[in-house]
């Protein structure tokens, strides 16, 4: 699944910087290669620089420094209307005074295609998004999901080299959103599109993407496949932005290759995998997924075994969530499948908490 796209690069950002006010950088030195046929998601909180990066690609923003290449050509010198990049906007931006068919014909008409060819391509695009019968409707007469499909068809109808999507599903309700995720992914696979997708919804990013670039503070924190991102976050920001993670802060007591011994704030020492630490004696923040923790009333087989007091017990059908007081942290969450829950676990009970050393990642410290 690891596609860095090294062999067949379609887009590359080279040392791209962007500043709006001349004082602070919104995008700090962006270097990114996007492979042909790749589905890349730019994920991050608002103000992290992901939308700005997309807008620079679309041509609505100019890089303050650096260059962007599309197929080896300098893209940043090209005005947006010559870039041949399809874009799906957050609010669809369907032209309200045109019918669906006219909306789809617009990019073809400005390219001065013949009338019959336009009609053929419009029909094909409408069939592709299963809206063939609604060609004569105006956008205001359609539901949000239908409008979203028209926007998608319009961005694809002129066969662009690259398709950009700026939070296209943000306005839809949850069920429709999940359905559209599937459809977009399906179109991507079927048509071999190269897609750059911006979202702040991590589940959307993990579901659809070949690779996800996690943005924060104008910097790509990590770019990797969804699985790697989830399992092997390289820093505390990614660990806590993607999915759920328990955080245990402490100091690195000893370092031996990839194994770190960490003294937690209450004095307990645990074994961890050293990821973001390089020197003994430095503070660190360790993270572990709730589903990687094992609980047992008497004994547990693990590299690290601690005692924990149950603060909260929440039943969620197929699993339970427990909030524990472990090693000074009162917000230590554990997820246990319902089949492994012991009836003796009640609020106030003390039980054994264990995990493998490799599952606890010693990362860069987080300011409390």
């Amino acid at each position: 699944m690891e596609q860095s796209g090294g062999a067949d690069v379609l887009v590359s950002f080279r040392n791209v910087q962007k500043s709006y006010d001349g004082e602070s950088l919104v995008v700090k030195n962006l270097n990114l290669d996007i492979g042909r046929g790749e589905f890349l998601t730019l994920l991050g909180p608002s103000g992290s620089g992901k939308t700005t990066s997309l807008m620079m690609l679309a041509g609505f923003e100019t890089p303050t420094r650096g260059e962007i290449l599309l197929d080896g050509a300098e893209l940043h010198r090209l005005p947006p209307y010559k870039r041949n990049i399809g874009m799906v906007f957050q609010n669809y931006a369907l032209f309200p005074h045109m019918t669906v068919a006219e909306n789809l014909a617009f990019p073809l008409a400005v390219r001065k295609l013949a009338k019959d060819e336009i009609a053929r391509k419009v029909q094909r695009a409408l069939d592709m998004v299963k809206l063939g019968s609604l060609a004569g409707r105006y956008p205001a007469q359609m539901s949000g999901g239908q409008q979203q499909r028209v926007a998608l068809a319009r961005a694809l109808v002129f066969e662009p080299k690259l398709v950009l999507m700026d939070e296209p599903l943000g306005a839809l309700d949850k069920q429709l959103r999940e359905h559209m995720q599937y459809e977009i992914k399906h179109l991507h696979d079927e048509l071999g599109l190269t897609v750059v997708y911006v979202t702040h919804d991590q589940s959307e990013a993990l579901t659809m993407s070949d690779r996800v670039a996690v943005f924060n503070d104008g910097i790509i924190q990590q770019i990797d496949t969804p699985v790697a991102l989830y399992e092997h976050p390289v820093n505390s920001f990614v660990a806590h932005f993607i999915g759920e993670n328990n955080r245990l802060s402490g100091t690195v007591a000893a370092l031996d290759g990839r194994r770190a011994t960490v003294r937690l704030s209450d004095g307990t020492t645990v074994q961890a995998r050293a990821v973001g630490v390089d020197t003994a004696g430095r503070p660190t923040s360790c993270s572990i997924r709730p589903e990687r923790v094992r609980l047992h009333s008497f004994d547990v087989q693990a590299d690290n075994v601690l005692m924990g007091r149950i603060l909260e017990f929440i039943f969620l059908g197929d699993h339970v969530r427990l909030r524990l007081d472990v090693a000074g942290s009162t917000d230590f969450t554990v997820k246990v499948p319902i089949s492994q829950v012991d009836s003796a676990w009640k609020t106030g009970e003390t039980i054994r908490v264990g995990w493998d050393a490799d599952d606890l990642r010693a990362l860069d410290p987080v300011a409390a």
Partner: protein
């Protein structure tokens, strides 16, 4: 309580639910009516009533019938082929005697003067030579003293003026008149068709200039951040806080041959002779555009404010040059504002009076000037009302055309 499905549902106190609902609705309707009643009364008194009176005045012809009721009554049933018989002359003498006593001869004299310009002196001459109240052969006496009464055309004119309603004012407003044979002919000396044409033309030019100036400004205002656009909007509205008369007078000061603009241009050496900028069409255009500009800017601005910028961006991303995107995607969405602004400006311009009167020459006066002329100078309410009515009808027609146009372009089912 009875809950069988066939029985009428009853409310708690046993009254059928339907009755209760109707009662509640009626009281609600009455209350809303009471709320809008003040406005309704105001509209009727200040709008419907004056306009109905205006329309009525344009065809009203009761002056002669009111002033000389006996003659008019006696003339009823006259065949129009011969000079009327004795009783009519007796009635004429009686009426004139009454008018003389009341000192109100002026009104019928003026009205008859519209028909034949010499009629006024005929009346005054007759007044001087009126036979005694008990005289015999009044007809011969009167015709002897004033031979015009023996001419058929004077009696026909009298008969026309005696009818309760007349088309003459409306016809005169479009340069037509009824000749002595009762046919509608063109009055060569009248120029109201030209004046109407001029009114529509000046209004059209002013509207077009306003649109060309207001469109970019409104666009700019709509894309500026609110703090700046609010300040600029105050500048746009500032002229509203000054009297129309003051603004018009200010333009005279600016535009006259020794004024600021001519002085400035001469000082810069751009022109040698002062340009004639005022008391002609140019002055009228400049000041009318200035005064009407806000009425174009406001509807455009309000429509443009509602168009998010992402439409043009989307068009550009689809491969349209920014100009093409603006023309094909932005402009069509502002059509409603353009229509409303143009209609407002054009209709307001049609009624302009003070500005052309002060800043224009004799050939730049619009219909309203003549309405004022007939109202203030010659006290000819009929002509003033007829011109006003025609202007009103033209405006209403424009409004209907606009409504049709908007209906056709607005079928896109926008919310």
């Amino acid at each position: 309580m009875d809950t069988t499905p066939t029985a009428l549902p009853l409310s708690d106190d046993g009254v059928p639910l339907k009755v209760r609902l109707r009662r509640a609705e009626r009281s609600y309707k009455l209350r809303s009516l009471a709320l809008i009643a003040p406005l309704l009364i105001f509209l009727v008194l200040s709008f419907v009533l004056p306009i109905s009176t205006l329309l009525y005045r344009a065809v009203d012809n009761h002056e002669l019938a009111d002033a000389m009721p006996k003659t008019v009554a006696a003339l009823d049933g006259w065949d129009g082929n011969a000079i009327p018989a004795e009783p009519v002359f007796v009635a004429l003498a009686t009426d004139l005697r009454d008018l003389k006593e009341a000192g109100r001869i002026g009104i019928p004299a003026k009205r008859l003067g519209y028909e034949i310009s010499g009629f006024r002196s005929v009346l005054t001459k007759t007044l001087r030579k009126l036979p005694a109240p008990d005289a015999q052969n009044v007809r011969d006496v009167v015709v002897d003293a004033v031979p015009e009464w023996g001419e058929l055309r004077y009696w026909k004119a009298f008969e026309r003026a005696a009818k309760p309603y007349t088309p003459r004012y409306l016809l005169a407003s479009v340069d037509r008149e009824v000749n002595e044979d009762g046919q509608i002919v063109v009055n060569e000396s009248s120029a109201f068709v030209d004046i109407f044409g001029r009114t529509f033309w000046i209004s059209g030019v002013v509207t077009l200039c306003c649109l060309l100036l207001a469109y970019p400004l409104a666009y700019w205002l709509s894309v500026l951040p609110p703090s700046k656009s609010n300040l600029l909007m105050i500048c746009v509205l500032l002229p509203f806080w000054t009297s129309l008369l003051v603004r018009t007078a200010a333009w005279i000061v600016l535009l006259q041959s020794g004024g600021l603009i001519n002085g400035g241009l001469q000082a810069l050496g751009i022109i040698d002779q002062p340009l004639q900028l005022v008391f002609n069409r140019v002055g009228v255009y400049i000041s009318m555009v200035h005064i009407l500009l806000p009425f174009m800017i406001l509807p455009l601005y309000s429509v443009m404010k509602g168009i998010p910028p992402h439409f043009v961006r989307a068009a550009v991303s689809l491969g349209a040059h920014p100009f093409l995107a603006f023309w094909k995607v932005y402009v069509p969405q502002t059509i409603a504002g353009v229509g409303a602004g143009c209609l407002l400006t054009y209709i307001l311009a049609l009624g302009y009076y003070i500005t052309p009167a002060l800043l224009g020459g004799p050939d730049d006066q619009m219909v309203s000037y003549f309405v004022a002329f007939y109202t203030n100078r010659t006290i000819n309410w009929g002509m003033a009302s007829a011109l006003g009515s025609l202007l009103l009808v033209a405006t209403l027609l424009l409004y209907v055309v606009y409504g049709k146009l908007v209906d056709n372009t607005g079928q896109s089912g926008r919310k």
